[in-house]
Symmetry: C2
Subunit: 117 residues, 2 copies
DNA sequence: CAGCATCCAAGGTGATACTG
DNA sequence: CAGTATCACCTTGGATGCTG
């Protein structure tokens, strides 16, 4: 989570929590992958994300699972297979995320070929 | 910003940036205050936010001003008066934020009087 | 394969003191 | 009043090495 989010006695607490989760490094990429590519195994996920460390990936996965954002399916084969997929809950964010993506694209995207960067 | 946001070669870059700004500690509270209480001076803002340090408040203010989210009005009186207010740009986020707040409230709020905490 | 345990470096924040 | 400058601390992610 974006760690030090003070708050505490404010009505924005829930929002802070949501934003906090969404903004934790790798989380968006993770959900994004799982969303448009379907269930994936640990190794596959790690490769697809690139530079993430097993430690961080594990933390994110556990955290999101705990929050009910991901499902963890363990297949006790040899070697073991663990597959992750997003829950229906996360789909509720689809609309808002789409809007956010649009605004983000509008503000920071360089689609207008006039990219500043 | 939620600091280490890797990305780099991904189409979610703009979103990451937006989320990153929104999730930077104190930013939401800051925008929230300015949004429903109107323009405010540095000191007032600091008092209203509670535990924020002058250093952090200054950083946030400068950052948001640089992003075009806030207006900084300097009045060279003695003592000097500096007033901050949100820009129209930020108002574009109003809708999405409202939605996000709803979902957040639904997922993490304890409005159902059955609050877990 | 999927993860856990360690060590360590880096960035961010709070506290404090000082200035135009 | 509105910052700026320092410093010390704490959280967090990366790199490694090891295991069922």
């Amino acid at each position: 989570m974006a760690k030090t989010i003070p708050d505490g006695k404010n009505e924005l607490e829930p929002l802070m929590k949501l934003i906090g989760i969404l903004s934790t490094p790798w989380t968006m990429l993770l959900l994004h992958r799982l969303h448009l590519e379907g269930p994936k195994r640990f190794g596959e996920l790690k490769r697809r994300l690139g530079a993430i460390s097993t430690k961080t990936l594990t933390e994110r996965l556990r955290m999101l699972e705990g929050e009910g954002w991901l499902n963890r399916h363990y297949e006790p084969t040899v070697p073991p297979q663990v597959t992750y997929s997003i829950t229906d809950k996360v789909m509720e964010l689809d609309g808002v995320l789409t809007e956010l993506v649009q605004i983000a694209e509008q503000w920071y995207g360089k689609k207008t070929k006039k990219g500043k960067k």
